[in-house]
């Protein structure tokens, strides 16, 4: 590469075990500022585990990960503080069911970032508007469809003014007709220059906005290629098989 863009997320030789079982093996990659990378691979290959290591939701035993230069594995790092600035969106939304949509978006702004109630409320409304759900502000998560809940979850993460966003299969729990409303929000976000690491099997999304695609198998990063290379001619046979399976759907 000609230039060296500032790395937002650096993953360096990371290995992780669950007891005797090695979930991640020497994973190395990085995400530059403003870059969108898609992580794919068969079930159980360690995609969720890897992405959860990035904000320290999962601990790892070897290697190191830095987010904007801050070491995630360092015991001295204030993880809650770091996580407050790394947005995360989950497969099953994980909105807080006992709170209204407004409170879901406001609570961490107030309790973690120390914003005033008014300030938090203004931000909340702005982001709900952005994902087209302002009219649902007073409802509880259970009253919304899956697609709406996931858009709320994205808005909730954006309320914290994240420096990067992590997505773990954000559309795989949705009914097919709701996938696009969520992808649209993600595409928009990518176009605005958000740094994103997305575990997803939505290859349309990968084609449209990703810079690079990472393919994982058995805890290894088997392929880490630019989008064009990946969709053109993936080097590994496993990735080719995986792609042909997924694209034939």
């Amino acid at each position: 590469m000609s230039e060296m863009p500032e790395a937002m997320i650096k993953i360096n030789n990371v290995s992780k075990w669950y007891g005797d079982f090695k979930v991640l093996t020497d994973c190395t990659t990085s995400v530059a500022k403003g870059e969108v990378i898609v992580v794919c691979g068969p079930s159980g290959s360690g995609k969720s585990t890897l992405i959860k290591c990035v904000n320290g939701l999962e601990a790892f035993q070897q290697g190191d990960i830095t987010v904007k230069g801050i070491s995630v594995g360092d015991p001295k790092t204030n993880l809650p503080k770091l996580r407050a600035h790394v947005g995360m969106v989950f497969q099953h939304f994980e909105l807080f069911p006992h709170m209204t949509i407004t409170d879901n978006l406001s609570i961490a702004q107030i309790k973690v970032l120390g914003r005033s109630k008014d300030e938090a409320h203004a931000k909340t409304m702005k982001l709900l508007d952005r994902v087209g759900l302002k009219a649902h502000a007073h409802k509880h998560p259970g009253q919304l469809s899956g697609g709406q809940q996931q858009r709320v979850a994205i808005a909730r993460a954006l309320c914290m003014d994240p420096i990067c966003m992590l997505f773990d299969e954000p559309t795989s729990a949705l009914d097919p007709e709701m996938v696009n409303e969520v992808l649209d929000v993600m595409v928009q976000l990518a176009k605005e220059g958000m740094t994103m690491m997305c575990v997803t099997h939505e290859m349309g999304f990968a084609r449209k906005v990703s810079n690079r695609v990472i393919f994982m198998d058995n805890g290894n990063i088997v392929e880490d290629a630019t989008k064009d290379d990946f969709f053109g001619t993936p080097r590994s046979e496993r990735a080719q098989q995986f792609l042909s399976k997924i694209l034939s759907h």
Partner: protein, 221 residues
């Protein structure tokens, strides 16, 4: 002597019974709120990754749950003054004992409630930047408490009935008041029947509330 019932004695002794019932209510309320608060901390301790803390909480709960309540009541009443060097009234002793005893039971209810909250909720809270205590306060405990409310109230009904055991140390609850009144008027049977009806009616009414609540929570989920 008991050939005819004389229920007029009940009316005459109502103010006296009421003062006893007030203590029964107070004991139930204090043991419920204190028990739920301490029980919640015990539950967090039992679930904590700090080994000695989890072990200590687990010991406390298991011991309390393996001893008959009457024995705990008597034991606290006799032993605490020995430790503190000051005599303690039966009423104060009852309040302390019941809170300590019920905390063990509320602990197990809250522990089940906390464990029933999906792991993803904890992860989502952490991902927002919440510390452990914030995750508990804002995400886990409110949901656990709401889900467990019917069970907590059912335990409170049991607690309400169990308060009659303070009879053993002579604390002046409703049962004790009824016994005293029964002796004074020489009408013990009427008085016992009367308080039984009061215990039953209040417990029954509260059970009904719990049932309604259960239905409402079931719909909301």
């Amino acid at each position: 002597m008991f050939s005819t019932f004389d229920f007029s004695v009940i009316v005459a002794s109502l103010p006296f019974i009421w003062s006893g019932l007030q203590f029964t209510f107070k004991l139930t309320f204090v043991a419920m709120t204190g028990g739920i608060i301490i029980g919640t901390f015990l539950a967090l301790a039992r679930l904590s990754s700090i080994g000695p803390l989890a072990a200590a909480a687990s010991w406390y709960v298991n011991i309390m749950r393996s001893i008959p309540l009457v024995m705990v009541i008597l034991w606290f009443y006799l032993v605490i003054p020995l430790i503190t060097g000051k005599p303690m009234g039966a009423e104060t002793s009852a309040l302390v004992t019941f809170t300590a005893f019920e905390a063990a039971f509320f602990c197990e209810i809250m522990r089940a409630g906390i464990q029933g909250i999906p792991k993803g909720q904890v992860a989502a809270g952490q991902a927002m930047g919440f510390t452990y205590s914030q995750v508990m306060r804002f995400v886990v405990l409110p949901q656990a408490f709401r889900n467990m409310l019917p069970v907590l109230l059912t335990q409170t009904i049991v607690l309400f009935q169990d308060t009659s055991l303070v009879y053993a140390i002579g604390a002046k609850d409703m049962l004790k008041a009824a016994e005293v009144a029964g002796k004074n008027y020489n009408r013990p049977v009427e008085m016992i029947i009367f308080v039984a009806i009061v215990y039953f009616s209040l417990s029954f009414a509260l059970s009904y509330v719990v049932k309604r609540l259960q239905k409402r929570i079931a719909i909301k989920r």
